[in-house]
């Protein structure tokens, strides 16, 4: 065969002999005096071969297309037969689950916002109360007002005592309120855990201490209102 074919760039796919390559192939003439084939006969055979190849290529193309169509039809048939109904059911269930989750989350959001507001109010009230009381305490004694709770070096024991009293008043009020707030926070956390939130296996917490505080908050008959301040903090803290 001539170098025309051999010189073709190699492709990734196995190389096929195309009809035109067959048709255009030329052969060297046999050297003078040597025996050779009839040139016309060879050429007409090559032409025939090229034609056959062309027909075969067309046939392969046709079969490939048909194969693709059949596969497609099969997949379509399979899709309509099996997947559809099951998918419809799953979709419906999924949307129901999501509606429930959304409801639970909305409920949680309301409770959390309410709890945050309550918390802020309690803290602000407690801080202000402690501050006011301490101020009153200091006004009673004719000494310059110390700035906030800063622990400035006190010159005389009396001033030092006043400052301690001031800090003590604030701390005492805050401590007792912190306990209440913590109880109310734990109660909230417990309530949120009770939500119909579809839970998945996760670490479980023992709901121990919160339950106690909760018994107060959750009792249905009891009117729900912000926990009252501890009576202890309603009285002026004793400076001594």
């Amino acid at each position: 065969m001539s170098s025309e074919i051999a010189g073709d760039t190699p492709r990734k796919l196995p190389r096929h002999l195309s009809p035109s390559q067959v048709r255009d192939t030329t052969f060297e003439r046999a050297p003078f005096g040597r025996r050779g084939l009839d040139e016309t006969e060879v050429q007409s055979y090559m032409d025939r071969l090229a034609e056959e190849l062309a027909l075969r290529d067309i046939e392969i193309q046709r079969l490939t297309n048909e194969n693709r169509q059949l596969k497609h039809a099969l997949r379509e048939w399979h899709r309509q037969l099996v997947g559809h109904d099951a998918a419809e059911l799953i979709a419906k269930a999924q949307l129901q689950v999501e509606a429930q989750i959304a409801q639970a989350e909305a409920y949680a959001r309301e409770r959390e916002e309410e709890a945050a507001r309550r918390y802020e109010a309690i803290i602000a009230e407690a801080r202000q109360m402690a501050y006011d009381q301490a101020q009153r305490l200091l006004v009673d004694t004719p000494a310059p007002l110390p700035a906030a709770a800063s622990v400035a070096p006190a010159a005389d024991p009396a001033a030092q005592q006043r400052q301690q009293a001031y800090a003590g008043a604030i701390l005492q009020a805050l401590d007792s309120l912190a306990a209440q707030v913590e109880a109310s926070r734990q109660a909230l956390t417990y309530e949120l855990d009770q939500l119909p939130m579809p839970t998945e296996p996760g670490p479980q917490r023992d709901p121990e201490p919160p339950l106690l505080a909760l018994a107060e908050v959750r009792r249905p008959k009891k009117p729900k209102k912000p926990p009252k301040a501890d009576p202890a903090t309603d009285e002026a803290p004793n400076p001594d």
Partner: protein, 395 residues
């Protein structure tokens, strides 16, 4: 081979059906391969949005492989933490094709099916190869122990995490976090510190009412619990390599976290530069990290920290006493007043509202956009890759 415009036209036709499309896709996937259900959270609403966004992004760039391939590689790597395996890609492709066929009806021809088959084959191949490659240099996810959990206010907690393996990140990046209390729900948070020798990471978490992950992180997670971390992502708030300018950092709420990490990054640098940090909050108590910031500012003269309160505390109140030097107003307004941005790289992180307002101000005064770095909680400025989860939790 793939006729891109034919593919894109068919996607546009299908996408017009909205949420029905991803709903059908996942239903078909779960019907055919029930084991894949395990990979997803109970509520799939957010997941469906993500799928449609990712598909839309991919289809729109199917004839632009230079930008598509890196995106798909990142997507493939990122899917490792969800437990996606190479064998899942086959059923996903089948479900996708079936869904397209469902919606396209008569227009779903064998030729179009071939286009989609080829395109999906390419996508899967790139994603699988990238995921496979990543197994050689990083875990599917990291596990970290909660070694510290400190409630600073009713709804803000500062968590200290100790990852089980080396976790390399750049200050300003964020990472997906999952707690066992809310399996398969990942939310992005930023380390609030520059990488430390002991590898520990500080997170600032604000509970968003109704937000399942943030409330679990603030209320339920305790010292000793484990959380999962995805690989660090995002370059919106990281500093440019050649950044030589002083820094103006504007933080709203827990948007402080990535900006505090930037401050710590400057600490480690040989060359110091001026850093002005404005920290916005509603009340004095919401300045939840002021103590640490003040300590930093006392230690480093190049740093100034300015707390900014939205409203003035009532006169005679304890807060009015407590407030030291503080500015009043929206934090972005205070920080960007008086041309303070000049000569600075500006970083904004906080609510979308705050970031948006800051960007507007900077635009109006003609601050060059390349000096401005920002990220909003609700995804302002685009997501990390345009498709994945948002930082923190949606309000």
């Amino acid at each position: 081979m793939v006729d891109a415009s034919r593919l894109q036209r068919s996607w546009a036709a299908v996408a017009a059906y909205g949420d029905q499309v991803p709903l059908r896709f996942y239903s078909r996937l779960f019907a055919a391969s029930p084991e894949t259900r395990e990979l997803f959270p109970l509520s799939m609403a957010a997941q469906r949005d993500r799928l449609v966004t990712a598909l839309g992004y991919t289809v729109s760039r199917v004839d632009d492989l230079d930008s598509l391939v890196p995106y798909l590689q990142q997507l493939g790597r990122d899917h490792r933490r969800f437990g996606a395996l190479a064998q899942h890609y086959g059923p996903v492709g089948e479900a996708l094709l079936a869904t397209l066929a469902d919606f396209l009806g008569q227009d779903w021809t064998a030729e179009l099916a071939q286009d989609w088959t080829d395109a999906y084959g390419l996508v899967a191949q790139v994603m699988i190869a990238a995921a496979d490659d990543a197994t050689r240099w990083m875990p599917a996810h990291w596990t970290a122990e909660v070694v510290g959990h400190e409630r600073r206010t009713f709804d803000i907690a500062v968590l200290t995490l100790q990852p089980d393996e080396r976790y390399d990140y750049v200050p300003g990046q964020s990472m997906a976090v999952e707690t066992a209390f809310r399996p398969r729900l990942w939310r992005y948070y930023s380390p609030a510190n520059a990488p430390r020798d002991d590898g520990s990471i500080e997170l600032h978490v604000r509970r968003v009412p109704g937000g399942p992950v943030s409330s679990a992180l603030v209320d339920q997670v305790q010292k000793g619990d484990l959380v999962n971390l995805g690989s660090p992502v995002g370059y919106r708030l990281t500093r440019p390599l050649d950044g030589e300018l002083d820094l103006l950092l504007v933080a709203g709420g827990t948007g402080l976290a990535p900006l505090k990490a930037l401050v710590e990054q400057v600490v480690t640098e040989p060359e110091t530069r001026r850093v002005d940090l404005y920290v916005g909050a509603g009340t004095v108590r919401e300045l939840y990290d002021l103590e640490a910031l003040t300590a930093l500012a006392e230690e480093h003269t190049w740093l100034t920290v300015t707390p900014v309160l939205r409203e003035e505390p009532a006169e005679g109140s304890l807060e009015a006493e407590e407030v030291g030097p503080v500015e009043l107003g929206p934090v972005e307004a205070v920080a960007l007043a008086n041309d303070r941005w000049r000569g600075h790289d500006v970083y904004l992180c906080g609510s979308d509202e705050m970031v948006h307002s800051g960007l507007e101000r900077l635009r109006l005064v003609g601050c060059p956009p390349e000096r401005v770095h920002y990220e909003g909680f609700q995804g302002l400025g685009g997501d990390v890759y345009g498709v994945l989860e948002l930082r923190g939790e949606k309000q």
